[in-house]
Symmetry: C2
Subunit: 898 residues, 2 copies
């Protein structure tokens, strides 16, 4: 790449650029060059590189010195090829000016067609085409487009002129206007420009060209484009290229058309040509939706139940030519392409080719088919699937054709769409569900006490909380749809209703939620049930064959564990034992334990809990037989188990046979200013060793029982919230003691590991010494993110929107791992831990374990496994395989560099 | 040091050990060896080294193979020197067995005197001494002591025997018993042993010796010793030595005595011999307090208004000899010594010398005097002062002679003693203080709303909260005594009383608190006012001359700033602007701002606040003229400014002219689950830039005004809670803009720095990029400790006691910096920050800035300054000087090693 080459020519069967020069030429430019090289019919043109855009912004919107000369020379080349001259009054060359960034940014930047027309050249065009109406229509289109895009004049001013003329002529359609009418429109348009801008519309074609080029570069920084890039993670410094290309006309008569197509069906992935065209039209007419586009193929016509003739029927020869292009492009690019073409007087011109966007299902099918066709390797297939998109395949989705009245939007906390009757409390949700009714549970926020209601509901809405709030985490684990933190919903439990602006939704009303978009919708919207294709299993099999990291599930209920195995979990990475305490029977014993005065009282209550915990573990271990199960001992602060309201407190007091005052006092004692940083995790195990003792005993007794059935299980006992090595030391002694006791009592040989969550910065830093005791680390990235950022996940949703708006944060750090900060701590801990103990098992069990980018990060730094909610397991499996491929590529790049 | 030498002899003018072998021989052993080497009269003996203790515990309480032989040989050496034989029935050698650890652990371990006596040897002692009473008394003392210490028989069993005999003889004092009476006591004692232990008292002297040695080693791990070590930071693996020494007797008649002395007055530091002695007594009689000890010197006799003759009068010759020893020891050790001696028949024997403990005042005076005497260097003087002890000099202390009924103990949150009437709310505290009454403000916890009451009070008690709770931090800043987290106090605002067990204290009752010990005391206890001696200023001057780090103050009120300058602050390191908003007038405007619906409403309220803030800054800058002032922009979450109770909410609603429902709703909206990790710090500045804008404008307007008066000020504007560089970038743009505006408006030339707190782990890790924007870092170690540990300082006091008990933590990490964890982050941030910007100013402004060990750490890693509460400034100045000395020593050690 020469620093002084700013312009790259293409067309006429050759090009200075090619497909892999995308960064320099943008997607469109690279595609045009590549098509030229392939000998496809591409109107000649040239690309002004993205480097000029960078130069432009770095040099107060000026151009490199020799740009003008290079553009002139390239323009001359087009003139030669086309046999017309730019600005010539007899035989004018017209060009299109199109943006083209590295990544596709559809409709975000500006395009100008028909450039090179003015009062004089339009007459030349009229002469050459022999079609006055076409020439004047082209000119008025150019004025309108140029004025809008380059001069920033509002479109409605031109529409008004056009409407006036149509009204005067008493016609309804543009096509009914004659050449003379268009002349009148042109006069009106020119007047609008004169009036609005206080100067005439530029008649000098070179002025037109350079102003349009400047407008494209400027459009890179328009608000729309900036927002789009932010949403799609496109860096602002990539810049756009500008493509200047000889115009071809799809609007010169009935032997002309213009169309867009996909080389395969982008919705299903089926290997069938798929696209639309319009006879006698220019590109923007397809987009504008004034006329109904027609199907390319007869097959498409049938599928769409269209009465309009297919291109295959109308222009069979050109269609056949186009189909050849389709096959050639697919073979060349080894991927489904999204193409644009124009037919001018029966001659086909290709205007664009790029990798086509597709649904998750299509993506899978295309990838698997192409492997079977021998077009791509399995690795390529794996690389191509957007792991996050698999979510679409596992949950019901809203029928895209259905109408919907969105009344509020929250966070897309757990994917899937669901409809049901509004209920405001968990018991009611369960009661209605038991009568076979579908319900949506609506809460300000949820707590572990609501779990049975969440399980009974089709979906959950909360008005407070983030992507890792209780509602979100539990819903994802259960595979329930959830919209979290829909702040505009005012939920009123007393009145049993919620309101947003002037809409009030009462208990029993029907609503629908889309947990993939965060939308809350009035009434019931039809949904489409997911269907797992055979391609899914095939691709997952390839991924499993490739990946190095294991994938485990965060699961504690039998149902979750079964789902997890179904999705391919290779063990449980996080069994949150506290979830087992919220059952109606158990919560009573749990509360008794909490309000007990002394160890004796606590032990009495724990004795009641132990058989229940043991039973849970027996069930879980039976399901997970043969696989490792990581069990986290009690983590949340005790006050989470106490009731809030007075009536509930009274109930607890009655059940425990004590005074309500005592319950209240205990609740008050346990109250904490910042419970997230309070008396929880292993701190409970230090203060009340009898609690952990009970849990550990239940685990080992369960292992002993399951082993008797001939099933094998490796429990990995995990201590949460360790920040000092001594905490772990003390609790390991306790665990080993209980193991020895159970071994003695049952005669079972117990194999187990003792390890720790690494979820506090201090633990990450002191990992070297902690690994002296810990046999495994599991990174609890939810808490680690909270403490590393000093950011409460329960409260962050209140102000993170300000952060996105101010462009401070691009992602929710609770959804996508902050690799720079939190990631460095994970790296430090991994390195220091392995230095002490080189076979230290490393995993991650935060919510990030199901996020593709975070999974790849885990792969890169050498973790042994990731653990995520059951429904995210396929995503993690795929991302883990992608991590291996990317790792190999990185290594290769480094090898080549060395 | 030979690995096989376990025993070190001393006495007779020479020794195998010396003073600097303290780690091996223990303090007592090293002192005895050194005195022997100096030619002082030391009874011969030997020390069994601490390595034997280590061996003993590492080898299931057994001894090294050749220990027995080395002890036998050393014992023979004593026999030779003394001319008596161990176990000889004619001329028996008696020995004492004493523990002696590296660090003094007074009374924590065991001692046995008169060992070597049995039914036969006691007769030999009788013959040789010609004093039957002495011999039998010695024997019964030995039985009693040995039985207690070695055989674990409870002392009262022997006291009962003695009492019986005394009753039978109808005498009151031991001295009234005759030899024959003692024989009867001995019989009784032997019977007690026989009965209790089911075997006879050991008559074999070698068995006595080895059992006693074993008892001393075992006593290293008794509960008392373990607790003492934990309290005094003595590692458990140091071990104790055992000293075996020929007995000398202070109880052989009136030409005998025993005593303890300090080479200077340990209370005032005056250079005067100071001590007590008892004629015809053994060491334990002095301790037992049965007889009133007499003063050594005539001067001492006068000072103590004693009628008993001084040693100087009674034994002038021996006294003069002792005084020579005193001078020799001081000259040799260059420090005040604590010595023990015995005079046997007019012959002086030295039994111990060690560095004497002293009060903070004495410590200062001795150090300064010794420099003036040419005995030590200024550096030595600085090194010797325990920086933390300076606190004693700055606050009133309880009269140690006064009686006190301690009813509760909390954390020693802010030093000083204070008495006053109990009040339960801040307004009442202020009202009563205005009428001239002294009050103690008692709260469950304090909030910024209580500040005026805290300021009005003599002292503060809270029943909840830790060393860095609001109450503790503010009290220290104000120099008010504070006992925090006295959990046993049940405070009842409604009944206006607090209770602990069956004691109830009502509003208006008198109580006293000691903020240096955490005690809450019934009634009024007399206090002693502090007096800053000239020595204080002299020593501080030396420290200032030596230290590299600057010392600044955490201060915002004019009073704090004045105090800070008085104590030598070189600027303000942390001005917490939120404290300025709690004034009665201001809080209304502040609340108006918070409940405003939009930016316009907020700006209107902020406009009211701006002139008040400006006025504050003008005052502060005037006081601090010529010095840098670091101003932290608003940090706490907004809900901290809203009232809690309904009546107060009503008041706010009324003042703002709005509905109370709106106030409640806003309070509810602002409520956070974990406010410490919530919408606070620079997150407020991002969401509501107008707040920071107002504050910054007030700062610059104040600078402009003060500059007009010819005073210079360098404001350092500090952004709190930064975790992402972009936060700082955005706010720096705002600050620079406002500065430009104020400059324009006032014509003032504004110099200022913009920097950030580093108080989140992520900020520490990303310090490299943050320093691209920040001109200084100030480590907010309170928050950094909270997030690094995942530990809320408001909640930690609930379970940290369990951590101390389980030996997991030795210190409150909020009081003493965790150098391993939090410290590493500080180091990382310092290095990465300086790598980006090598003149980056680094300081610390957490509570740790006033903790000597933490200050030294800051010095070691190269911070530019520490900032602490005004009353801790002298401590920080001294510690900063000590850091330099220790740093030089470290470097020297490394140089020598290299």
């Amino acid at each position: 790449m020469s620093a002084s080459q700013w312009v790259y020519e293409f067309g006429n069967g050759k090009a200075e650029g090619k497909a892999d020069m995308r960064n320099l030429l943008g997607g469109k430019g690279a595609g045009l060059a590549e098509m030229s090289n392939l000998g496809l019919p591409v109107p000649p043109g040239f690309t002004i590189s993205t480097e000029v855009c960078t130069y432009y912004y770095e040099n107060s919107k000026t151009y490199p010195a020799n740009l003008r000369q290079q553009v002139e020379s390239a323009l001359t080349q087009i003139e030669k090829t086309v046999g017309a001259k730019f600005g010539d009054t007899k035989n004018p060359l017209l060009v299109s000016i199109r943006s083209g960034a590295r990544a596709s940014m559809p409709g975000m930047m500006d395009t100008v067609l028909n450039l090179g027309l003015n009062i004089e050249t339009v007459e030349g065009l009229k002469q050459r085409s022999g079609d006055a109406r076409f020439a004047y229509d082209s000119y008025r289109r150019f004025i309108q487009m140029f004025s809008n895009v380059v001069l920033n004049i509002e479109p409605h001013k031109f529409e008004d002129v056009l409407d006036d003329v149509k009204r005067a002529r008493n016609v309804r359609l543009d096509t009914q206007l004659k050449a003379s009418d268009w002349l009148e429109v042109i006069d009106g348009y020119l007047e609008v420009v004169e009036k609005t801008k206080k100067k005439s519309f530029p008649q000098d074609v070179h002025e037109q060209l350079w102003t349009a080029i400047g407008a494209v570069f400027s459009s890179w920084m328009n608000q729309r484009a900036i927002t789009y890039r932010k949403l799609n993670d496109i860096p602002h410094d990539w810049g756009t290229a500008v493509n200047v290309q000889a115009m071809v006309f799809g609007n010169m008569g009935d032997d002309c058309c213009t169309g867009v197509a996909f080389t395969r069906n982008p919705s299903t992935g089926e290997n069938a040509f798929y696209g639309e065209y319009l006879v006698n039209a220019q590109g923007e007419d397809v987009v504008a939706g004034i006329r109904t586009p027609q199907q390319l193929t007869v097959r498409g016509k049938k599928d769409q139940k269209s009465d309009l003739p297919a291109m295959e029927e109308v222009m069979p020869q050109v269609f056949s030519q186009l189909n050849d292009v389709r096959l050639k492009l697919e073979k060349h690019y080894c991927d489904m392409q999204d193409i644009e073409f124009t037919v001018q007087q029966n001659k086909l011109y290709m205007l664009q080719t790029r990798t086509g966007k597709r649904t998750a299902a299509a993506s899978l099918k295309i990838a698997v088919d192409m492997v079977n066709e021998g077009a791509i390797s399995k690795q390529d297939a794996i690389k191509r699937i957007d792991a996050a998109s698999l979510d679409q395949l596992l949950h019901p989705t809203l029928d895209p054709k259905a109408k919907k009245q969105v009344i509020a939007t929250g966070l897309p906390a757990s994917p899937g769409a669901a409809s049901g009757y509004v209920v405001f409390n968990a018991d009611e949700a369960e009661r209605m569900a038991n009568t076979g009714q579908k319900v949506i549970l609506c809460r300000v926020e949820t707590s572990p006490e609501d779990i049975h209601g969440m399980n009974a509901a089709q979906g959950i809405i909360t008005s407070r909380g983030g992507m890792t709030s209780h509602a979100a985490v539990v819903a994802r684990g259960m595979g329930r749809a959830c919209v979290a933190g829909a702040g505009s919903l005012q939920i009123d439990y007393k009145l049993q209703q919620m309101s947003v602006k002037d809409i009030t939704i009462k208990a029993g009303d029907l609503i629908t939620i889309d947990g993939s978009t965060g939308e809350v919708i009035l009434g019931e919207v039809p949904t489409i049930q997911p269907e797992l294709s055979g391609d899914f299993a095939i691709l997952m099999g390839w991924a499993d064959g490739l990946r190095r990291m294991k994938v485990r599930a965060n699961a504690e209920t039998p149902q979750d564990a079964i789902t997890a195995r179904k999705f391919g979990a290779e063990g449980i990475g996080l069994c949150r034992t506290e979830h087992m305490f919220f059952d109606t029977n158990r919560i009573i014993a749990m509360r008794e334990m909490i309000i007990a005065d002394d160890e004796k009282g606590r032990r009495a209550a724990l004795d009641k809990l132990e058989p229940m915990q043991k039973k849970d573990f027996v069930e879980l271990f039976t399901i997970m037989a043969g696989l490792p199960v990581t069990i986290r001992l009690l983590d949340p602060p005790l006050h989470e188990f106490l009731p809030n309201g007075e009536s509930e407190m009274r109930e607890v007091a009655k059940a425990a046979g004590i005074d309500i005052g005592k319950v209240e006092k205990r609740a008050q004692q346990l109250h904490e200013a910042n419970p997230m940083l309070g008396h929880r995790g292993c701190r409970l195990g230090i203060s009340y060793p009898e609690i952990y003792e009970m849990q550990v005993r239940a685990i080992f007794m369960a292992v002993a029982e399951v082993q008797k059935e001939g099933k094998n299980i490796l429990p990995e006992i995990m201590i949460p919230l360790v920040c000092l090595k001594k905490e772990l030391d003390i609790l390991k002694v306790l665990i080993d003691r209980v193991a020895a006791e159970v071994s003695q009592q049952t005669g079972a040989k117990l194999n187990y590991l003792v390890g720790t969550m690494i979820e506090l910065p201090r633990a990450a830093l002191r990992a070297g010494e902690i690994a002296e005791t810990a046999q495994f680390f599991s990174f609890g990235t939810n808490d680690l993110t909270q403490t590393t950022f000093g950011l409460s996940r329960d409260d962050a949703s209140g102000f993170l929107p300000d952060y996105y708006k101010a462009n401070i944060l691009e992602h929710d750090p609770f959804a996508t791992l902050d690799q720079e900060g939190v990631g460095e701590l994970i790296k430090i801990a991994s390195e220091r831990g392995r230095q002490t103990r080189n076979d230290l098992k490393l995993g991650i069990c935060g919510e990030h374990g199901g996020d593709p980018n975070s999974v790849k990060f885990c792969g890169r730094i050498g973790l042994d496994y990731v653990s995520c909610s059951p429904y995210r397991i396929p995503i993690a499996r795929l991302a883990a395989a992608q991590a291996v491929i990317e790792g190999e590529k990185d290594r290769e790049t480094r090898r080549n560099a060395a």
